[in-house]
Symmetry: C2
Subunit: 254 residues, 2 copies
DNA sequence: TTAGCAAAGTGTATATTTTACACTATCTTA
DNA sequence: TAAGATAGTGTAAAATATACACTTTGCTAA
């Protein structure tokens, strides 16, 4: 991106060409009266793989942040809803469009972006990492363990941390975690996921007790395969039942 | 400053004669397509008076919403931080600058504002209603019981409800309520406040037990005056102690 | 084939937290 | 000085959260 300052435009003021002058005046007034503020959407895309919570990052192409990793984002198109802009980012980067998405906070420090005043609305998203593995590992785009995320470009470190904290809080209030898992999973998978998100160890028996009490798990009468030990039963998540109970839902505690 | 994508400019690289005009046209189109989004900040200002939770509203001056009430807001100045913009609204409308302020959510439906695409960052604020009573009741600006807030202009009803829900959640996690009270208050005042915010009745003994256990109340060794019954003791809130304990704070439940 | 391994699956006792509830004390007003 | 009104106080029961160990099952390798 290139930054055009008002003074650069004003230099052309004496141009004889009427059209140009007129154009300049329009631009000048647009710039002055409308806003010199650009709006973007950034998305912290979480995935879960090899029992680790991951986040999708890309290398910044701005020279100011050469080589640093950054979140995935884009400028907002004037005709797009905010959520739509976030979905577009997800579609573009992962090919998925059925994902969990939540707006977290808007970041607008005056100097957060070297290209000018850019205010960004931050979202986080939960996706099933398996469903799009082929789409990435190209273009400097890849998954990173959340535990190793540091020194991101722009103010993206702060955005990442805010979103991660929000996720940690949310999974204790609502059973969102399922968006990160395959449709069939064992209770061990589920516990591994929660341990990865929260960064703590959980008691296995109490964990099972809690999830069965919630009554959102459907016993598929299937078992794991290719495990070198007794296989666990497989479950799926009953989204409909959850939607019904959602209103009265007061939370889970770990 | 205006942000223009470089690729748009490069398209005209070879042009010699009309370079300026073409470039400007591109800039203009960028302005139109990229940047026709205005940014505002809206603030749900809460107060507490006569044992009711109140919100500060103003009559809309837009003809589309003639006579309807709306939240207090303003366009964001390009050189202001987001929080600063919210503080400015508070200063302008209440004269106060030491208030509790929290960003809640950004609302950006394409048609939410009849004047064009305006995206607004919503805050809520807690103020001590006594401190500025003289500043308002002018200019169609006044306090309204939260229970009676309906049919606000724009999408302000939705914004109000989102902010009110956030407040209800927050006061159960952190002792924010004190911002709404005078510096000296009785436990009955405090309970009235929480009952007003949450919209429920609370058990008096359990309420007292909970707040004393928190250990943020300072016994001032003073009592209420001008009450037609046994006066209650007065307390103040120990902000410093709260700040210290904040990190480990896990919440209050009612 | 079978012994050993590794994780699945299961229940109970204790501690902690939350809830429900009623009487005495103190100040004001008549 | 009696009556009215709210302040102030403690305990028992219920619900919830925690801590903890043995048996079962399927897989693997000798």
């Amino acid at each position: 991106m290139l930054v055009v300052t008002r003074s650069a435009l004003l230099k052309n003021k004496d141009n004889k060409n009427n059209k140009t002058v007129k154009t300049l005046k329009i631009i000048q007034s647009e710039v002055e009266s409308l806003n010199k503020i650009a709006l973007s959407v950034d998305c912290v895309i979480f995935g879960f793989d090899e029992n680790k919570l991951k986040v999708l990052l890309i290398r910044s192409d701005l020279k100011e942040y050469k080589g640093r990793l950054s979140l995935l984002g884009d400028l907002l198109s004037p005709n797009d809803e905010l959520d739509k802009a976030a979905y577009k980012i997800l579609k573009k980067r992962t090919g998925l469009d059925d994902v969990y998405l939540e707006q977290v906070q808007t970041f607008g420090k005056v100097n957060r972006h070297p290209g000018g005043r850019v205010i960004t609305v931050a979202y986080y998203s939960l996706i099933n990492i398996m469903h799009h593995k082929l789409k990435i590992r190209e273009n400097e785009l890849d998954w990173h363990d959340v535990s190793g995320v540091k020194n991101l470009a722009f103010d993206h470190q702060e955005i990442f941390e805010t979103c991660y904290q929000r996720l940690q809080k949310r999974v204790q209030e609502h059973p969102l975690g399922f968006s990160l898992l395959p449709s069939k999973f064992s209770l061990r998978d589920l516990q591994n996921l929660y341990e990865a998100i929260l960064g703590i160890k959980l008691d296995r028996r109490n964990f099972r007790k809690k999830f069965f009490a919630m009554d959102f798990l459907v016993d598929l009468n299937e078992i794991e395969t290719n495990v070198p030990h007794r296989p666990g039963k497989l479950y799926s998540f009953d989204y409909d039942k959850y939607e019904q109970k959602k209103k009265k839902w007061s939370g889970i505690d770990f």
